[in-house]
Each structure stands twice: as structure tokens, then as C-alpha cells.
């Protein structure tokens, strides 16, 4: 009995120390901003591998999600004779929820896991210790550019996702199903408020970008430096990021739209 209690306590303490280490990591990464300002090249390379290479999956996913929303929305709305509200439905669900959330989930799978594996492997092959031996701070030189690249890329990717989703919904609704074009765009513009909907969606994606990249980098930096440890850390990145995004989305939605 006591043994089980001790196990539970030990697990709790371990979780807390991990959380503490994750927060302590934020400070040197913020200081790394100075290094980035001196050498923007570092950031540029990371934006390429984190952001540019993620465009394709985001674009394809956004287009298809928008097309499916168009089809399903038309099916439900046409029962009530409300096909003209299709544009509003597609745009509102994309801009408010699906754009930021799905982008963050895809980002965690495509870029987050890669970041963890890269940093974990650097740790396992002692490249990070090597940098330290040469008096180069790996937290400034390796972690910070990756962190800010992710932080910068996710809002842009989410905007791209939402735009392509709206275009996908318009292609299906206006093109295939014959919803009136004027009503589609007009209903959308009347119903979507710039501050209320678009800006709140952008704020959401900024928060998700921060959290996803932070988790990915921490898991890589904190992993057990073996092949098994790296593989576990990669799995944890995807699982933790997804759960954090979904949980935070509920909290943010409750704060913003209630």
C-alpha cells in the first residue's frame, strides 16, 4: 500500500520537475532572440524547414476540409431551405475553430516531431555538448531559432489553411451544388466580424504555435539520449501537443466567444 503511494508521489514529483524544467528553458530561448537579431540567417533556415516544408500538407488539408464542409453543410442547410447561409457556415467554422486547431495538429505531426527528433539526436550524438565545449550556447544557437521559427510559422499557416478552406467550400458550394455566388459571399461578409472572428482566430493560432513548438523543443532537449529515448520523446511530442491544443482550444473559445 505504502509502496503504491510512494510510486504515485514519485510520479507526481517527476511530472512537476519536468514542467519546471520546461519553463526554465523559456528564459534562455528568449535571450536567444538577441543572437537571432545579430544573425537572421539562423532563423531563416529554420523557417524554411519548419514553415515552408509544411505548406503542402496544410494547403491540401485546408482545401479538402473546406470542400467537405461545403458538402455536409449544404446537405443539412438545404433541409431548412437555408443554402444561402453556406458561406457563413464554412467561413465561421474555419476561421474560428478548424483553421487554428487543425493547423496546430498537423504542425505538431509534421514539424514538431521532426524538431524533437533532430534535437534529440543532436543530444544523443553529443553535438550539443560539443557546442558547449566550443563556448557556444546551444540554447541560444540551436533551440531559440527553431522556437521562433515555429512561433512565427503557425499563424501564417493557419491563415493559409482558412483561406484555402473557404476557397474549397466555395468551389463545392458555388461550383458543384449551385449555391448563389452573391448570397455565399455576402452572407459570409455580413456574418463574420473582423475583430470578433478573424483576430480571435489569429490569437488562437499564435498561442497554439507557441505551445506546440515549446513542447517539441523541450521534449527533444530533455529526452533520454538513446535511440529509444528519442523515439519516445517524438511520440510524446505529438501526443502532448495534440492534447494541449485541444484543451487550450476549449479554454480560449470559452474566454473569447462566451
Amino acid at each position: 500500500m505504502i509502496g503504491h503511494l510512494a510510486k504515485l508521489g514519485g510520479w507526481g514529483l517527476q511530472a512537476l520537475t519536468r514542467l519546471g524544467r520546461a519553463h526554465l528553458l523559456l528564459l534562455p530561448m528568449m535571450r536567444g532572440l538577441l543572437d537571432i537579431l545579430r544573425r537572421p540567417r539562423l532563423l531563416l533556415d529554420q523557417v524554411f524547414s519548419v514553415g515552408v516544408l509544411t505548406i503542402l500538407i496544410i494547403a491540401v488539408a485546408g482545401l479538402f476540409v473546406g470542400m467537405v464542409l461545403g458538402l455536409q453543410g449544404y446537405y443539412i442547410l438545404s433541409r431548412f431551405g437555408g443554402e444561402t447561409a453556406l458561406g457563413l457556415m464554412v467561413a465561421a467554422s474555419l476561421v474560428r475553430e478548424l483553421g487554428p486547431v487543425l493547423t496546430a495538429l498537423l504542425f505538431a505531426g509534421r514539424a514538431g516531431s521532426a524538431l524533437t527528433a533532430e534535437i534529440g539526436l543532436m543530444k544523443a550524438t553529443e553535438q550539443l555538448s560539443g557546442l558547449e565545449m566550443m563556448a557556444v550556447n546551444p540554447e541560444h544557437r540551436v533551440l531559440a531559432p527553431r522556437f521562433f521559427a515555429g512561433f512565427l510559422s503557425v499563424p501564417l499557416l493557419a491563415a493559409l489553411f482558412s483561406m484555402l478552406g473557404v476557397i474549397g467550400g466555395w468551389m463545392v458550394g458555388g461550383g458543384m451544388l449551385g449555391v448563389d455566388q452573391g448570397a455565399f459571399w455576402n452572407g459570409m461578409q455580413n456574418g463574420i466580424d473582423f475583430r470578433e472572428d478573424v483576430i480571435n482566430g489569429v490569437i488562437k493560432s499564435v498561442v497554439f504555435g507557441f505551445v506546440c513548438t515549446w513542447i517539441a523543443i523541450f521534449q527533444g532537449y530533455d529526452c533520454v539520449p538513446t535511440s529509444e529515448g528519442v523515439s519516445r520523446a517524438t511520440t510524446r511530442t505529438v501526443v502532448h501537443s495534440s492534447l494541449a491544443v485541444l484543451g487550450l482550444d476549449f479554454v480560449l473559445t470559452a474566454l473569447m466567444f462566451s
Binding site: L44, F48, A91, L156, M163, V166, N190, D193, F194, V202
Partner: protein, 156 residues
């Protein structure tokens, strides 16, 4: 072209695409592209019942939007609702003072808005003036109630 410039170009393309998408969301999807952001003047109207009228609902003349509802409050003195409408400044001195304001519904279940019917007076609405003649919103329950009441009367 060396690899460095290729990466730079791609990052530039990515940034531009993201900003274009944001611009698209602002201008084409949201109301930022169509919203009137110029100056307005305030006109008040008192209604017995505003139904489901909301702030930001359009104010129209002959179906054309000339302003928006900017405020709704309850006046405890005469038990009526006071609706403040922000009318676009270009119509200052163009709307007769004895215009008629009524709360209408777009479609059967649509949003409610205010329709102004111009009167014949030579004096015009200015900032802070009040519309005297108004018609309340149509409340479905009341209409149904009246119909049933009328039927019952016919029966006796």
C-alpha cells in the same frame, strides 16, 4: 543560384502567402472590406417593443443601408426602448424629420433591421434628433394570439 538564395526565396514566398491569406480573410471573408468606417450622426427612436433587434443591425431606406444601430437602452420613464442609430454623414440634411421608423425582418426567420420611410417635411433629421412615429417589431406570439382571439369572436 546557390542554395542560400533558394531558401531565402522560399521563405519570402511563404511569408507573402501567409500575409495574402490574412488579407483575404480580412477583406473578402470578414466585414472589414464592406463596413462603413466614416463619420456618422446619431438619431434616436422610441419603440414599444424592439423584438429581437440587436446592436449593429442595419438601418435602411428603400432597402439601401444608410446606417447601423449603435445602441439600445430601456427608458424606465415611459416604459419604451430607445434605439440609437448611427446614420452615415453623407445623409445629414437629406432625411425628412417626419420619417417613419419600423422594425422589419429579413425573410421569415432572418435578422431584424430598421426600415425608414421618408416623410414629406422640409425639416431634416440632425444629430441627436428623434423620430416621432415608429412601429414596433412583429412578435409572432402576439400575431398568433390575435388570430385565435379573432377566430373565437367569429364563432360566438
Amino acid at each position: 543560384m546557390n542554395k542560400k538564395t533558394v531558401i531565402e526565396i522560399w521563405v519570402g514566398v511563404f511569408m507573402a502567402l501567409g500575409l495574402v491569406a490574412l488579407f483575404f480573410l480580412a477583406m473578402q471573408v470578414s466585414n472589414l472590406g464592406t463596413a462603413y468606417t466614416g463619420k456618422t450622426f446619431d438619431v434616436n427612436a422610441r419603440f414599444d417593443n424592439i423584438g429581437g433587434l440587436k446592436v449593429k443591425a442595419p438601418v435602411t431606406i428603400a432597402g439601401v443601408e444608410v446606417g447601423r444601430v449603435t445602441g439600445i437602452r430601456y427608458d424606465a420613464e415611459d416604459f419604451r426602448a430607445v434605439v440609437v442609430m448611427g446614420i452615415q454623414e453623407q445623409y445629414l440634411g437629406r432625411i425628412p424629420e417626419d420619417s417613419f421608423a419600423k422594425i422589419l425582418t429579413a425573410g421569415l426567420l432572418g435578422e431584424q433591421y430598421i426600415g425608414l420611410d421618408p416623410g414629406g417635411s422640409l425639416d431634416t433629421l440632425a444629430n441627436g434628433s428623434e423620430i416621432a412615429v415608429t412601429q414596433s417589431a412583429l412578435v409572432l406570439e402576439e400575431v398568433v394570439g390575435q388570430f385565435i382571439f379573432g377566430k373565437a369572436k367569429e364563432g360566438t
